[in-house]
Structures are given as C-alpha cells and as structure tokens.
C-alpha cells in the first residue's frame, strides 16, 4: 500500500477525534511496539463498536496473557485480564451470566492454540455468543520471541535454535472443523478491511472467530513481515459462498496464499438459546433473555 498524497498529523487527529471512536478508548496509552498490528485491531474494535453503537458499559473485553493481554486497559469498556489460555471459558461465564453484554475475546496464537487449545472446540461447538479476535503473529512476543504453534517450519527462535521442527497449525481449518458458526480472516496491514471484519464478527449472533494475520515487527525480522504478508494475502474469490463449509475448508487449506474475508457464516442457536430451552423444558422461566441488536 503506497501513500499517494501526504497525510498531515493534524488532519488525522481531527479525523479521529470526530469519528466517535475515541469514546471507546481509555486514557491509557498502548504499550505495544511501534508498527505492531494490535494498533490496527484497536482501531478496528473501536470503529466497529462506534458503528454498531453499543454502550460502553455493555461491552466486556476479555484477554489472557501475551501482547494482547493489555488490550482491555486501552478500552473504555469493562475488561477482564485473565489467565494464560483461559479467556474463552471466562468469556463463556460472563456471557451466560448476562446475555445483554457484548463479549469480545482477544488473544494471540500462543494463548489460543498452545495453552488454551483445549477450550476452542467446546466454545465453537456450543456456539457461545462471543467474538474471538485471534491475533496470529506466529511468535511469542511478550516473552521475547519464542516459537509458537503457528510458527513456520524451520523458524529460528531462542527456544528453537536449531529451527522449528513442528508442523504449524491451520487455525481456520481447525475452527471450521470444530463447528464455529462464523469464521473469517483479516490482515493487520489492511486496517479498513480488518475493521469491517471486526464489525461483522461482533454483529454475528453466535461464536465468531476472526483470524488476524500480523507480523511481530520486533522479534521476527525475517519470516512473517509486512512486506511478505502484503504479497501473500489475497481476497476470497467473489463467488465464495460463506454458507458452504466445504468451500470454506478448501479456501482455508491454501495456507501459502492466505485469503481475507468471511470464510463461513451460519445462523444457529447459541448456547444461551439452548440453556433457555432447557429452563423452559424444566418448567422454569429464564432469568435473562438474550437481547442483541
């Protein structure tokens, strides 16, 4: 993406101030490295919340451990900075306790697929009405650059000095196989598209999984760089049918040319709906009804 005309800082600030997005930002300054993809995600989340018009107090951002873990502090919403790998079950508890809340989970590839991998299938199959923004940079950034479950084969890090020997995971195929009702992919280098995707993921009623590709600008100077990702990413084909799980699976399997867009999208009952049905079956009255715009 080349800059065709100069952008002045003042103009940009003015634009941001009037956009309404800052309403969702706390006064804490982000602690990420300059150039980090998390800035795009923060922009995207605040833009999407502003677009949807959710009240600040109705949003809960849940994070685990990793570079994403500080994200809730930068938001003027409720937040819960939890344990390494346990974001999804915590978010499940929050959502089941209060269906009126918009629950957004943020985390990295280590938090999600290494220590927390056991929770993903269950939150996906149960279709818990939460949004999972997974930020995949293929590295452990906060502990200074160790190998992760999505690191490429042969990737050299302090804990894989003789190169990574483990086949990387294919998160999109995994999530599709687990029965996630909304699966999409975005790229931190295309912030506008990312923001649109975040909006789609939040608006989806059910479990939405957004895979966000991003480089780690500090600890990965060779493998997953902006330069390389810019060349590799592609849009999903125009004729891709997001109701077709097999087509989605096929698109997800071309990992050398990651596609951006909504891979899969289905409407089915959420865990909250199911538990309300259980209550009705037992002759009770649900205490909280899921209300969502």
């Amino acid at each position: 993406m080349s800059i065709e005309h100069p952008v002045y800082l003042e103009d940009k600030l003015e634009q941001i101030r009037t956009s309404g997005r800052l309403h969702y930002r706390s006064k804490s300054l982000p602690t990420w490295c300059p150039g980090c993809g998390y800035y795009s995600m923060t922009e995207g989340v605040t833009w999407a919340l502003n677009e949807i018009g959710t009240a600040n107090e109705d949003v809960v951002v849940v994070s685990g451990i990793g570079c994403a873990s500080r994200f809730p502090f930068f938001m003027e919403t409720y937040g819960f900075h939890t344990l390494h790998g346990r974001t999804l079950p915590v978010a499940t508890g929050i959502k089941l306790a209060n269906e009126n809340l918009t629950v957004i989970v943020v985390g990295g590839d280590g938090d999600g697929f290494a220590i927390g991998g056991g929770h993903i299938p269950h939150v996906a199959r149960r279709n818990v009405d939460i949004t999972y923004l997974l930020f995949d940079n293929g590295i452990y950034g906060l502990t200074k650059g160790q190998v992760s479950p999505t690191s490429a084969l042969g990737f050299k890090t302090p804990t894989s000095p003789f190169q990574n020997q483990d086949e990387p995971l294919n998160p999109l195929a995994m999530l599709l196989a687990y029965g996630s009702s909304w699966v999409g992919q975005a790229y931190a280098g295309r912030p506008d598209h990312l923001a649109e995707m975040i909006r789609g993921a939040i608006k989806h009623r059910g479990f939405s999984y957004l895979h966000i590709l991003s480089p780690c600008v500090t600890f990965d100077k060779t493998d997953r760089t902006y330069r390389r990702l810019d060349l590799e990413v592609r849009d999903l084909p125009d004729n891709h049918d997001s109701r077709d799980r097999l087509a989605a699976m096929s698109e997800a399997s071309t990992t050398d040319r990651p596609a951006l867009g909504v891979f899969y999208n289905e409407q089915r009952r959420t865990l909250g709906d199911a538990l309300d049905a259980v209550v009705e079956k037992a002759g009770g009255v649900p205490r909280r009804l899921a209300v969502r715009q």
Partner: protein, 601 residues
C-alpha cells in the same frame, strides 16, 4: 415401653450386584418415614461392576447423635466372604443374619456362621429359598433379608412398603410388586422367628416434628443451600464424590431459571465460574482433589481480581487419583494455601449435613460481601452420608447484594474499582452498570485497576486483600467455631474440623462417661482462622488431641503454625471415618492412665 431410647445400627454387607446399597437405602428411608432420626453411610468400590465389597450402615435413633456407632448391633450378610471381616464390628450380643441355604455349597471356613464369636447371636435365614418361593426368582434375597430384619424387630411394615414403592417408582409396576412380595415373605418369617437378642426399638420421638424433617446427604444439602441462596450459574466437570452435586443441580436449577453447564474440564469450570462472578451472577462449581488442583491458578485470579465465586470441594483419598470412593481429609492444605502467591481466601468446612446446607448458602453471601472465592470443603463421608435434618420454613440466606458503587460520585472522576477503604472492601460495579467501567486484572494494580507494581502499591493491595476477610469471622448466620462438652479447664480437648467432628464428639461423650474432663471444639472456618476462640480453648486444655483423616496432620500443622502451640496428633489414613473407640483410647491416653481409671471406678 415408651421410655425406650432407640439407638440401633444395622449394617448390610454384600458384593456389588447383591443390592446391598439398595437395601440400606430402603431401610433408612423407611425408618426416616416412620419418624426416627437416621445417620447412614455406605462404602462401595470404585468399579461399577465386579465383585467388590459394599457395606450399607444405618444408625437409627430417637435422640441426637453425631456419627456412626463404633459397634454394629445387627449385621446382615448377603455375601459371606465379604461379611466375615465385619463380624468383629458386631457388638456383644449383637445379631448376625446370614443366608443359611446359599445357592452353592460354601467352601469350608468361608461361611460367616463359622466366624461368630461367643456372644454373637446368629439368625440363619434361607434368603434364596424364600425369595424363590415368594417371587419365583432368587434376585430378591436382599429384600427378603430386609423384610426379616423388619419382622424380627417389629418395625413399621407400612413405612417399608412405602419406601420400596418409592424406590422402584420409575421401574415397571411388576418390579414393585415382586419386591413387596419378597419383603412381606421376609417380614412374616421374621415375625415368627424366636428372638433371643434384647434389641428394642422404642417409638420414634416427637412425630409431629419429624414431618418437617428431611433425610438427605451432605451433597444434597449443598444443593439445597445453593438453590435457597438463589444460585444463577453453575459450571462443573464430573468427579467422584462431588458429581451428585452437579447431577442434582442439573435437575433443579432450570426449574428456577438458572443455568448449568458441564464444561470440558475443571479449568474451564472454574474459569466460567469466575467469569460469571465477575459479571455479577451467584456462581459456583464443585469438584474433588484432582480437579481442585487444576483450579488453583484461576482461584488465585479470583483473589487478585476480587471476584466472588463458590467452590465446593469434596475430598477423597489422595494423592493423584488415589482412592476415589474412600474418604480422607487431606485437601486442607490445598484449600487453605493452594495456588501461588499470597492468595488468601475463605474456607468453610461444615461438620454435618445441616452444616453443608448452611455453609453452602452463606458461602454465596460471603463471596459477595468480601469479594473473594469461597471454598466449601467437605469429604466423601460427609458428601454421601445421610442424616435427618430439620430445615427452617423460610431460607435464612440473604439475597444477592454487595457494597455498591457510589452513586453520588463525581462523573469526571474515574471509578475506583479497587478503592482502598477502611474495611478493605471496595465499592463494586459489574458489567452493565453505567459509570462503573473498569478492567479487573490478575496483574497487581492500583485503585483504578491499572497495572501497577510499585512496592507501596503491592503492600497496600496485599494488606487490603487479607484484611478485608477478617470481617468474615463475624459474618452473621454462621458459627465459625464452637465448643462442646465440659466447660472451664479440662484434661483433654479434642480440636476437630470437618466430618471428623461427629466421631470426635461421640468419643468425647464416652470419655466424659469415663470421668475424664473433656471438651471438643469444631472449627468450621479454616481461613481466616478464628484464632482467638481457638487459643482460649487451647488455654483451657491440658492436652489437645487433633483427630484427622490424613497422614501428617494438616489441621494440626495449621494450628501449631498459626498459634505456636503443640498438639497431640491422631491421624488415620484408612479411607474410612475415624473409629470412635480408637479415638476414645487416645483421649484416655492423653488424660493419663490413672486419672480415667480412678474416676471411672
């Protein structure tokens, strides 16, 4: 006749598949129906099938008792091989009922009648024959034996027939009919058998009151406490002996509009419980040792982020998988200290079934009042034992409430979720509350919840998290510790916690009959520890005995560590409740030989 005080213990012993536990179940339900007080505890193997030993013991009384009896009055042997080791627990002139015409010839030395001691009173009953005659099948041996016991001691037949009908309610009508026929045949035989023991069942005490009393297990009492406290969400993962809490809640919670989810593991269970607690729900989970070990990290987050949650832990034999169907008190350390960091939490250890209900209900109040996870620590013995309990008509538990966020707060000042207050409890806002936006975190933080690791801040916040719990010692509606037996200075004090208290109190009563000045204290709140009353008790006792079902004496360590006083340890790791007679001997030993003999004489 009316003056007869009933205190009879009946043990049924058989092989898995003999219907041993079923007979024990009918017996206790029938006797509770008839208005007696009942304490019952079953022992069974960890395997579903196979030929493991099952024992169902039921103590039937008119007065208040606290544990199983050390000696059994009536032993019913459905399987001779399994029953032989238990003949020794039958008291002098107690009855042993056995199958006098078993299906196959019994090998020499393996018939129970050959193991009776002088003074045991044998009743040979052709169980199989009577079963075949009355039901044209040999499957109802157990019910025949039950009928025989009922007939022999002239127990109220109608109560038994009602209990049998209730037991097989969900099965085909034929099943009930067959079992009633077998029971009646056994009852007739019992009625016409010459009785040479002197066992007497007096009439049940105060019938009117008994109509309000309920017989239930510790786990079901916990469920009742949860429901009466208005539990909103429950997350759990099956594990013996805590599973029956979740199973019963799964039936009952939806009726009250509440939500229960079986999660993928215990880590998810506690995570979701903490999540729901953060969102303002009354939330709980239940587990046992191995699952609790997985939960400790998240419990630490609950302490750090000041999130209310209730964790029910039913202890079993450990470490590792240990003995899943045997009782033990070896998780005190993990309950009080488990996890990393200075993670002070509230730990309640009820001592009886009624206490399970009370602690369960109060745990939700306390979790909210002090914004902390509360562990309710029971054990298999307490989880599974039946007691008759009288519950109040209106539940005493307070509805959901916590110290609210200041409403008159100036809008331009950010909300301080972790405000340092005099009592250490900060005004709380939950997601959805306007003006209460904040982030809770496992990082050390300042009053606003922002990460902060300055020395002063860590000290202030650590003091806050510890100090706020002291008020729990005065929480209304719960007894944190209580003394029983002799008042004033005593020779021996028995300091107990958890299910062991029943046996300890029985042993104390026996020791006092021996003339030993003796008192017992139960400590229900293990964290924070009610130091002052315990210290007062220790000062009153020449010797303190701490009976526990663990190897090293985890409570004794806690007491000695916190109070710097030596105590006499009495530890058993048999997988069974403490033997009252053994404990009595320990009390006698502690009192000094001469003392008790002289006073007893």
């Amino acid at each position: 006749m009316n003056s007869v005080q009933t205190d009879v213990q009946i043990a049924v012993c058989g092989s898995a598949g003999d219907g041993t536990i079923a007979v024990g179940d009918i017996l206790k339900r029938a006797m509770a129906r008839a208005g007696y007080r009942v304490i019952a505890f079953d022992e069974y193997p960890a395997e579903i099938r196979g030929f493991g030993k099952c024992i169902a013991r039921t103590r039937i009384t008119t007065g208040q008792v606290y544990s199983m009896k050390p000696k059994t009055d009536v032993l019913v042997a459905l399987n001779d091989g399994h029953a032989i080791p238990h003949v020794s627990e039958v008291r002098d002139f107690g009855a042993v009922i056995y199958d006098s015409a078993p299906i196959a010839a019994v090998q020499e030395g393996w018939h129970v009648s050959g193991h009776l001691r002088p003074g045991h009173l044998p009743y040979g009953l052709p169980m199989r024959e009577i079963s075949e005659q009355s039901t044209s099948a040999n499957r109802s041996r157990n019910i025949v034996a039950l009928g025989f016991v009922a007939g022999l001691y002239r127990l109220p037949r109608q109560a038994f027939i009602e209990a049998i009908t209730e037991k097989f309610r969900t099965k085909a009508e034929e099943v009930t009919k067959t079992n009633v026929a077998a029971f009646n045949a056994g009852y007739e035989r019992g009625g016409e058998t010459y009785r040479f023991d002197k066992l007497e069942f007096g009439p049940p005490a105060r019938r009117a009151r008994s109509s309000l009393s309920t017989m239930m297990t510790g786990n079901h009492a916990i469920v009742r406490g949860c429901l009466e406290a208005g539990i909103e969400t429950f997350f759990g993962y099956p594990i013996t002996p805590a599973t029956s809490i979740m199973e019963r809640l799964a039936v009952e919670m939806p009726k009250h509009g509440a939500r229960l989810l079986q999660t993928e593991d215990e880590i998810a269970a506690i995570s979701a419980t903490i999540g729901a607690g953060f969102a303002g729900a009354r939330s709980a989970t239940a587990t046992s040792g191995p699952g609790f070990a997985l939960m400790t990290e998240m419990m630490g987050l609950g302490v750090m982020a000041e999130v209310p949650a209730v964790i029910f832990v039913s202890q079993r034999g450990g470490p590792s998988t240990g003995m899943p169907t045997k009782t033990e008190q070896s998780d005190l350390n993990i309950a009080v200290f488990g996890g990393h960091g200075d993670a002070k939490r509230i730990v309640l250890a009820p001592t009886n079934v009624e206490g399970c209900w009370r602690c369960a209900g109060r745990a939700f109040e306390m979790a909210e009042a002090y914004q902390v996870p509360v562990v309710v620590l029971v054990d298999l013995y307490l989880s599974n034992r039946y007691e008759t309990v009288v519950f109040p008509d209106t539940p005493p538990f307070l509805p959901k409430s916590w110290k609210p966020m200041h409403r008159d707060r100036q809008a331009d000042l950010p909300y301080r979720r972790f405000e340092l207050t005099t009592d250490g409890v900060s005004p709380r806002a939950v997601p959805g509350d306007v003006g209460g936006v904040h982030t809770a975190t496992g990082l050390e933080h300042n009053e606003f919840g922002r990460p902060n690791d300055l020395s002063d801040m860590h000290l202030q916040m650590t003091e806050k998290r510890h100090g706020k719990l002291n008020a729990a010692l005065k929480h209304p509606g719960i007894t944190v510790c209580k003394r029983f037996g002799d008042t004033g200075k005593v020779d021996v004090g028995v300091l107990t916690w958890g299910s062991t208290f029943g046996e300890a109190l029985e042993a104390t009563i026996l020791a006092r009959e021996d003339g030993i000045r003796c008192a017992a204290m139960k400590v229900v709140m293990l964290s924070p520890l009610p130091v002052r009353p315990i210290l007062r008790f220790l000062n009153d006792c020449k010797v303190v005995v701490v009976p526990e079902l663990n190897y090293e004496g985890q409570f004794a360590n806690l007491i000695s560590g916190a109070l710097g006083r030596p105590v006499k340890r009495f530890n058993r790791v048999t997988g069974k409740p403490i033997d009252v007679i053994q404990l009595l001997q320990a009390i006698r030993g502690a009192a000094g030989k001469r003392k008790w003999r002289k006073s007893a004489a």
